[in-house]
Symmetry: C2
Subunit: 226 residues, 2 copies
DNA sequence: TATGAAAATTCTGCATACAAAATGCAAAAG
DNA sequence: CTTTTGCATTTTGTATGCAGAATTTTCATA
């Protein structure tokens, strides 16, 4: 599944990108879930959704199966699919695991990343900082996610960034809602400052530590929103 | 997706289990991949596979999408699906992540598991030990996997056992092939003895440590088989 | 008015049909 | 003899149709 979040007009070199409808639908439905257009517990009517999106049931069903495997959707035999509802404990559990994964990523990234890759994270960080200053919450939020993903990417461990993005995607909706207050936001931003410093110093221990703390605090920041 | 590996005749209480064809196919195809009936790189012809299994293309395609999300299958636009081929680095990467997850599980399990749950792991362990003594490699292998899964289960952290089973399933085929020599097998068995002792003592640190070592060694045990 | 059975409707699950793309092959051109 | 081009075949991608399960509605009865 192609995971280009930035949705740029694909590079003009190389073979042109063929996209299948079911593939596009996966992305579309995922976004609808994350952005709350499809709320947890809501039934996903095949014919209705299909009509709404202008596709037939076949590719739609395929996309739903894909999302079911991703854990965003629950399949109920003979009764179709519903958007999965996560309990507080579920979210907490996911954050525990995500914490462990990102701690690992922090350690690995400092060893394996190239200077260019670290520079790219720095760039994302600076952009995010700008959004923080400008109080542009939406873009801040997206860049935040991207930074965490990128730290996993630069470990060059596919399995790791795969697992991370899976969990992150399950948590997106909750974190998207969790519009924390100003002081909490400031704390998160401060943690990110620590992160980028540790990464640029290639101090794996430190980066791992900050990431761990960051994710523990993430729970404090979202738990009220559930 | 129902994940009963033991395939017992479902309990007779409660509502009868409705199974959809696409769901059954997921399990079936997964087994075919793990057991090598479908080899890495092999194209999964829809009509042919469908005929072979006696189903139409529709539920088959749905199952394939599900497996693609699981990472066992790769979708190539307009060209169907192929069984994913994992490189040595891929396997190593997965084991690194699995190590991290199981270390976490080791720590959590000692805190959260009930005495009954620990007893169940002990039972599985004793069974596995018997298979080792009887040189029953296939059953040993299955029980081995089950023990690792169970240790994650008894953390009562759904996300954790979810991620673990995902990685484990990707690695199954490779470990299935990796028929290690007698001395390596003995070492693995010895590690398992350590594990069960640590678990029964509820010594999280120790269990975590053994599990970590066990998975590091797992790499040594399979790397030649790739 | 409340209750419950039965009919009607809606929806899912699966198979089939059709369109579009890819693959293979053979003939023509160089 | 090699390469290229066009055609036939195969295979994927999407839509539609039909059977059966689930849900809702209707309507008779207490």
């Amino acid at each position: 599944m192609s995971e280009t979040l930035s949705e740029l007009p694909a590079s003009n070199s190389g073979p042109i990108q063929r996209t299948a409808l079911h593939d596009t639908l996966v992305t579309r439905l995922r976004d609808m879930i994350i952005e709350g257009e499809l709320t947890p517990g809501a039934r996903m009517h095949e014919s209705q959704l299909g009509e709404q999106l202008g596709v037939s049931r076949t590719p739609l069903r395929e996309a739903i199966k894909f999302l079911a495997s991703e854990g965003l959707v629950e399949l109920i035999p003979s009764r179709g699919a519903i958007v999965k509802r996560f309990s507080g404990k579920d979210v907490h559990d996911m954050l525990i695991v995500l914490k462990s994964l990102e701690e690992l990523a922090g350690n690995l990234a400092c060893e394996t990343a190239t200077d260019e890759e670290i520079a790219k994270v720095r760039q994302l960080h600076d952009e995010m900082r700008a959004c923080y200053d400008a109080k542009d919450r939406l873009r801040y939020y997206k860049l935040n996610q991207e930074i965490h993903s990128e730290i996993c990417q630069i470990t060059h461990n596919q399995a790791l960034s795969n697992m991370q993005s899976l969990l992150q995607s399950r948590l997106k909706r909750i974190r998207f809602i969790g519009h924390e207050g100003v002081e909490k936001w400031a704390a998160a931003m401060a943690e990110h400052e620590e992160m980028i410093v540790a990464l640029e110093a290639r101090d794996g221990k430190a980066l791992s530590k900050v990431l761990g703390r960051h994710l523990l605090n993430a729970w404090k920041r979202v738990r009220d929103a559930i």
